[in-house]
């Protein structure tokens, strides 16, 4: 057709190229269209995931903050307002005995819409029980539970409190000459005879000295019931032919760490170590246990203890202590609150609540342990 074949081929070449380019372009455009759609989806996904991430962050963050703040507010959330406020004043509030009594009393107090505050002489404070009584009276407590040990002026304070309309419950020992509302505990007579009976079990032909460790004023006639009962029981066991010296040591005014020092003193004078040592409170018992171990006198001195802290029970189980007197702390706490509640309700209450006591020896402790385990 064309006179110049080269020209003809050039035209064909251009057309072919254009056609190829056309196809190529369409292909490019199609892929591009797909990419655009993909990109749109990607943008949307990106936006959504970004927003989701932010929301997640925000939510976890807020819950974390709430958790932080919540931990702080927790204490306040548990608070509750009570009708009455009682103070419990004891000698050594950190001791497990008083902690047990307080736990019981506190439980009963809460059930009776009352708040119980435990106060007492401890390493932090220089206050005496008299001071605490003053504070309680000044801060207008609705009732005072007081461990009475015959301190000077304490009975007057009890009267002062009662005069201000604050009922006072004495624990452990009775302030018989005061206007105290109620006494919760074991009467000295009862305690004395129970101990006397047990002491008599351990009195042998070799028994010469019996030492009773008390934390109260021995001059008080009433308190001597313990001494009298133990002494009588021991004498009755040995008979007239064998004189037994029964002595009493008062550890009341010994002050901080005084109990431990006094007990150590007893064991330091080898020839004067008593054959039977009777401890009338938990602190003394624990000190005596430690001293016996320190001086390697276990088995040579028969110790009759008081209260059932884990340490004391272990000592009984191992034979370091012969016996220990188990005072029902649960009852003690419960009766104290019962007396105060009754007073708030009726204006009067029982003047005497008796708390059960029970002696535990090695076998009894083991039985108790098994019981505890099986439970």
């Amino acid at each position: 057709m064309s006179s110049n074949p080269a020209n003809y081929y050039l035209i064909i070449y251009i057309k072919k190229k254009a056609n190829d380019a056309d196809l190529l372009y369409n292909e490019i455009y199609q892929t591009k269209g797909m990419t655009i759609m993909k990109k749109k989806g990607m943008t949307l996904g990106l936006l959504l995931s970004g927003a989701g991430l932010l929301i997640l962050l925000h939510m976890t963050g807020e819950s974390y903050l709430n958790g932080l703040a919540g931990a702080n507010r927790q204490m306040q959330a548990d608070t509750k307002e009570y009708m009455y406020k009682y103070d419990m004043i004891v000698d050594n509030p950190e001791s497990s005995f008083w902690q047990a009594v307080y736990a019981s009393a506190e439980k009963w107090a809460r059930e009776n819409d009352s708040l119980l505050e435990l106060k007492g002489t401890d390493e932090e404070s220089q206050y005496t029980k008299l001071d605490y009584m003053n504070v309680s009276i000044a801060s207008r407590a609705d009732g005072i539970i007081l461990q009475y040990s015959g301190e000077d002026g304490l009975e007057d304070k009890i009267d002062e409190a009662v005069a201000d309309g604050i009922p006072v419950v004495t624990l452990m020992n009775d302030a018989v000459h005061s206007k105290r509302q109620t006494f919760v505990g074991v009467s000295d007579y009862q305690l004395g005879s129970a101990y006397g009976e047990k002491v008599a079990d351990y009195v042998t032909r070799d028994t010469k000295n019996i030492l009773i460790l008390l934390k109260r004023n021995i001059d008080d006639m009433n308190q001597s019931q313990i001494y009298t009962q133990i002494s009588n029981a021991a004498q009755a066991k040995t008979g007239a032919g064998q004189p037994v010296t029964v002595s009493v040591k008062n550890l009341l005014s010994s002050g901080t760490f005084g109990t431990e020092e006094a007990v150590t003193d007893i064991f330091q004078q080898r020839n004067k170590v008593p054959d039977i040592l009777v401890c009338m409170d938990a602190d003394t018992t624990e000190c005596a246990r430690q001293a016996v171990l320190d001086f390697n006198l276990a088995g040579k001195v028969t110790i009759i203890g008081y209260y059932t802290s884990p340490d004391i029970l272990t000592a009984v189980e191992k034979g370091v202590l012969a016996l220990t007197c188990d005072v029902d702390t649960e009852q003690m706490g419960k009766y104290s609150i019962e007396a105060l509640t009754e007073f708030q309700k009726d204006g009067r209450s029982n003047s005497y609540y008796n708390v059960d006591i029970n002696f535990l020896d090695k076998d009894a402790v083991r039985a108790l342990r098994r019981e505890g385990l099986s439970e």
Binding site: S2, S3, I14, K17, A18, N19, A21, D22, L24, Y25, N26, I28, Y29, K32, G33, I36, K39, T43, L46, L47, G50, L53, L54, L57, G61, Y64, L65, L68, A69, A71, N72, M75, Q76, D78, T79, K80, E81, Y82, M83, Y84, K85, R110, S114, L115, E117, D131, N134, V135, I137, A138, S139, R140
Partner: protein, 492 residues
């Protein structure tokens, strides 16, 4: 109402909106951080507020005691006034303390302090009253009581302060944790927002300029000569939409223009080719005349001289013969390169037949039937004579019967129909095809031919009219004669 679409915004608006959005996002983020940090700061401030408050209380309390002591010592009215003032202040301060039995050590201490302080204030009031009443014994006793209470309260306040400090310290550490958390979370927030913002910005900007990129690609393709590519249709009203549509229109128009140009170029090419071919054939025809090694001018001048001589000698027939010869050759020479009228062609045929009849003593019976209205139609020159020559040479020569040639020129719907019909030897179908396809050259064999062959006539007819099959040959076989029909289209 027309819906406002994103793609209808102008580029400037788009960029401004996008940057504005990002700025707004960042601003919101800053605001959020500010609020969060501010609330934390407030909490921080509150932490030790209780301690500060208690210190105030303690100071007023001390002043009460001091004022009372001062009054008891000097009994000045100033100290009494101070005492009353501070007592009132202290009572006010006490109001802020809890007085309920609440099982929280701090609350309980507050209660104790409040109750004790009330007792204490009663006691100091009695002391002051006793002093004013000059009841020496009583005021001394009461002063002692007050002082004792004072120490209890002071101790209690100290303890409360301690407890508050402990509590505040723990909440301070909680706050520290919160601040730390805020710090970290703020950084993460910031990073996420900035990252997302950047990505969005990049994507949006890309989306904005994507048409430009694809337009560049398309333009490249168009530049390579592909006019079938187009930008995807868009109805967006921004600048790029306008440019895209303009671009598409441009490509379309370019395509049309290119097609037109190509077409006209092809036409020109064809025309040139045809002219070239025509020239070739004429050259060929002329060559044939030259090959006859006759100088036609000399020949027909000589013939004219011969004719005049014959006239002078009264040889009329010879004169006419020689004159016709001269006319015939003159026509051949004159019309060799251009077209002629049909009338001139017919005259050339008449001359040729006359010459032949003189040569062959009237053996050729030629008749013609011509529609005179077509004599002025222009046709390629030298097309009838060669056909008639063929009819004489191959048709009626050497036959036993009387040879006749009949020429008819008529109008027909296609144009003009020229028929040369003889009653000679006739042709087989094969011979006809050979002649029509130009395979067999009849004209070469004879010495007395005018030199123009049938295929030359056919070619020139086709070139002249740009149509095939203008010459047809019909024969019913050997001895049945031949008819050659030439169609002259009227439209040229």
């Amino acid at each position: 109402m027309k819906r406002i679409r994103w793609k209808d915004f102008s580029l400037v608006s788009k960029i401004v909106i996008e940057v504005g959005l990002i700025a707004g996002l960042l601003f919101t983020m800053n605001l959020l951080f500010y609020v969060r940090i501010n609330s934390s700061m407030q909490k921080m401030d509150n932490v030790y507020a209780s301690n500060a408050q208690l210190t105030d209380l303690s100071q007023v309390f001390e002043q009460v005691q001091d004022n009372m002591y001062e009054y008891l010592k000097v009994k000045s009215s100033q100290s009494l006034m101070d005492y009353y003032q501070n007592e009132a202040r202290y009572r006010n301060e006490l109001e802020k303390l809890n007085d309920k039995n609440i099982n929280d050590s701090v609350k309980l201490l507050e209660r104790n302090i409040r109750k004790m302080s009330e007792t204490y204030l009663d006691c100091t009031a009695e002391t002051v009253a006793a002093k004013r009443g000059r009841n020496v014994e009583k005021y001394k006793r009461k002063y002692e009581d007050s002082t004792r209470l004072y120490s209890y309260i002071q101790t209690a306040i100290d303890e409360l302060n301690n407890q508050l400090f402990k509590e505040n310290t723990s909440s301070y550490s909680v706050l520290r944790q919160m601040m730390r958390y805020l710090e970290i979370s703020n950084i993460i927030f910031m990073l996420v927002i900035v990252a997302v913002g950047m990505i969005l910005l990049i994507m949006a900007t890309r989306g904005m300029f994507r048409p430009l990129t694809s337009m560049a690609e398309t333009a490249q393709l168009v530049g390579q000569g592909n006019f079938h590519v187009k930008m995807p249709d868009t109805d967006s009203q921004d600048e790029l939409g306008e440019v895209t549509r303009a671009f598409n229109t441009m490509v379309e128009n370019l395509d049309v223009y290119m097609a037109k140009t190509k077409e006209s170029m092809e036409k020109e090419q064809q025309m040139m080719e045809r002219e070239l071919l025509m020239e070739n054939h004429l050259k060929e025809a002329q060559l044939k005349y030259l090959q006859s090694q006759i100088n036609p001018h000399f020949l027909f001048n000589s013939l004219n001289a011969g004719a005049q001589l014959a006239m002078m000698e009264d040889a009329e027939k010879t004169g006419i013969f020689v004159e016709k010869m001269a006319d015939f050759f003159r026509y051949n020479v004159k019309k060799g390169q251009e077209d002629a009228t049909l009338g001139e062609e017919l005259e050339a045929v008449d001359n040729y037949i006359y010459i032949l009849n003189v040569r062959f003593a009237g053996d050729i019976h030629f008749s013609s039937d011509v529609d005179e209205s077509v004599e002025n139609v222009r046709v390629p020159s030298m097309i009838l004579q060669p056909v008639v020559e063929n009819a004489v040479n191959h048709g009626i020569r050497d036959i036993d019967w009387e040879g006749q040639i009949h020429l008819t020129v008529t109008r027909d719907p296609r144009g003009i129909c020229i028929s040369i019909c003889d009653n000679g030897k006739g042709m087989s179908e094969e011979e006809i095809q050979n002649v029509l396809s130009g395979n067999k050259e009849h004209s070469t064999q004879e010495g007395d031919s005018t030199g123009i062959g049938m295929n030359n006539v056919i070619s020139r007819l086709e070139l002249y009219y740009e149509q095939p099959d203008l010459l047809e040959i019909y024969s019913e076989g050997a001895g049945k004669g031949t008819e050659v029909v030439i169609h002259i289209p009227l439209i040229r």
